[in-house]
Subunit: 414 residues, 2 copies
Amino acid sequence: MKTELISIGDELLIGQVVNTNAAWLATQLNNFGFSVSRMLTVPDEKSEIIASLDEALQRNDLVIITGGLGPTNDDITKYTLCEYFHSGLVTHQPSLELLKRFFQNRKIELTELNRKQAEVPEKCIPLLNYWGTAPGMCFEKDGKLLYSFPGVPFEMKSLFETYVVPELKKRGKGQAIVHKTILTQGIGESFLADKIKSWEDSLPSYIHLAYLPQPGIVRLRLTAIGASESELAAEIENLVEKLILLAGEWVYGFDEDTLESVIGELLKSKNKTVATAESCTGGAIAKQITSVSGSSEYFKGGVVAYANEVKTSLLSVNEETLKTYGAVSEQTVTEMALGVKKLLQTDFAVATSGIAGPDGGTEEKPVGTVWIAVASLQGVETKQFAFGDNRERNVQRALISALHLLKKQIEKKY
Amino acid sequence: MKTELISIGDELLIGQVVNTNAAWLATQLNNFGFSVSRMLTVPDEKSEIIASLDEALQRNDLVIITGGLGPTNDDITKYTLCEYFHSGLVTHQPSLELLKRFFQNRKIELTELNRKQAEVPEKCIPLLNYWGTAPGMCFEKDGKLLYSFPGVPFEMKSLFETYVVPELKKRGKGQAIVHKTILTQGIGESFLADKIKSWEDSLPSYIHLAYLPQPGIVRLRLTAIGASESELAAEIENLVEKLILLAGEWVYGFDEDTLESVIGELLKSKNKTVATAESCTGGAIAKQITSVSGSSEYFKGGVVAYANEVKTSLLSVNEETLKTYGAVSEQTVTEMALGVKKLLQTDFAVATSGIAGPDGGTEEKPVGTVWIAVASLQGVETKQFAFGDNRERNVQRALISALHLLKKQIEKKY
């Protein structure tokens, strides 16, 4: 089933808004085995919208348009659809009821302009929007489907999941699709590809592998298409087991896992706590750990020790250590980890010290040099990294590496 | 001058990559007074690329295509351009020299596949790419311009700025364009619009105002188009002065400023230091302050006090205070700010305590309740906020609000 996505809105064409809707929809459609043939962004202009609808419906089985459904004058998608389908407007009573409740709850008056949002083209199937004020619309033409949704990402996603996904499942009948994403850290894309080449070459034709790299992380997505969902799922599980034999040391989770959520689950299951002592990451590790709801169960706190005097006074780093080895050294980062572990009385502690840049580099310790230490009941593990010369990316990579090292230590059985 | 942007690449159509290039290019073009009429994303397929080129060159004066210039087999943009312009390939010697140096510096062997990247269509003007391996290309056809750039954002941006911007300035001759962005915080878009309505209504027709909202921030962009750059600049300065009389209390900077960079400049000019004590923001404030290079000059460090015992032991918050008023209270956040200021011996300190959610809310203190305190030589200023029920957004809004309050205190004359 070929699909085209049309985004409508001047704010996209002046670059004010990045079009994240198209990528989200494409991912979803892909997950259900439907391909996107084109993405198009057009202005809030009748002739442009009609021309693009015409072309898209000729070339595709499914067309999804987003945007231009607001109450103000510049939003013309609904009126343009009326013209395109030679249809008048009628009030959709259930949508009007929803609207009234929406405004009542917010104690705002329902104006005439808002009331008009409950009007829909006679020839469409109106789709109740529980997440905003403009109903979605579905048109059918010669067996082809056209959906029109608001451009607000949250509303668009909710409408898609509620109304389009069941339709996709129906139309894709007979074709089961199973996905599994394997998350890896600490190894580059091409090196990983090398390690798993034999495994990758052995994949049957109906199972597809995609490499999805992100800064510091490579995700591997397996997509299996076939007749039986349970058989595909079993086959994928089997393949994942084989993959782990080859690359298990870099795998940190699956599907929606994150490093910080995996760490949280590990700490909770072992009833252990953690603290952070950060220099070059400046609070990024603490921020990431606390992005998990419920993290107060295992995260006691942390110290951002930017100035050397904070390293000595709060974290009890020896002045002699700083003088002899410098702030960016294995010795200092070890004492930082041990210091915060003792200070906050936790089971684990992670510490960072490095030169994020752009200034502060030397020949011996260039910008991008980072030391990371993890203290546990078993002692301290340290590792040195040489990242690049971009401050933001250095912090990001130090963050991911620190979480990875921390996870490895928590996982150890003792 | 009408412009179309064409992005080429299967990775965009499966949703693996969000198309940020198109929005960036649109912003740039807009800044120079050129409008984008359409954005199109097509697969790495010859027929699709040729059809879209054909249409785009008919409708526009300038077409910019990105993507599909890599060394592997799936990248076919260059070969498709050869076919479209009936042109053979020739080696571009200066690009080959650049390539050789690029690989030499990285101590990697230059393979035949890489060497082919220096080949360009005979009929194009090759554009040396100092930032990557594939040269940019410029074609001229009936007075219309077509640029082809790699899809890697960093390379694309550098090529655009080096080769397209001078051309835009030339073609836009006679038309001077002056931009000024005013950055505001602490007031919603519609309230701000109300406050400055008289000013906005008085803008002459050749000066355009755009509202660019982001979480917690509203940017106002003024664009003036006319004959004399110096006259426009003077007029804009005059308008900004008038705007500040109406909305000055919410303005925190201009153009490329950020709250954290403005705070950094203020602290440096006053030779003062700052520390942070964070509960609900979990390190986000420290991370933001240290994202500014050179921040070690004024940021000594911070404490992330997630557990109550860290608030008492490290920040000297009174146990009685916690018992009587709770962790999320004016009293606690005040003691946190004073505690970290004394602990790290700084001139300023900012502290946060709140319920980020989704759990932990009560009737009296629902999810989204956040207290912020700023301690200075003059005492402590506090403020309570009621954000929403989304954990990530609550942290983001608390962060922006805390930086804003901190800035206000540092600005005070004493």
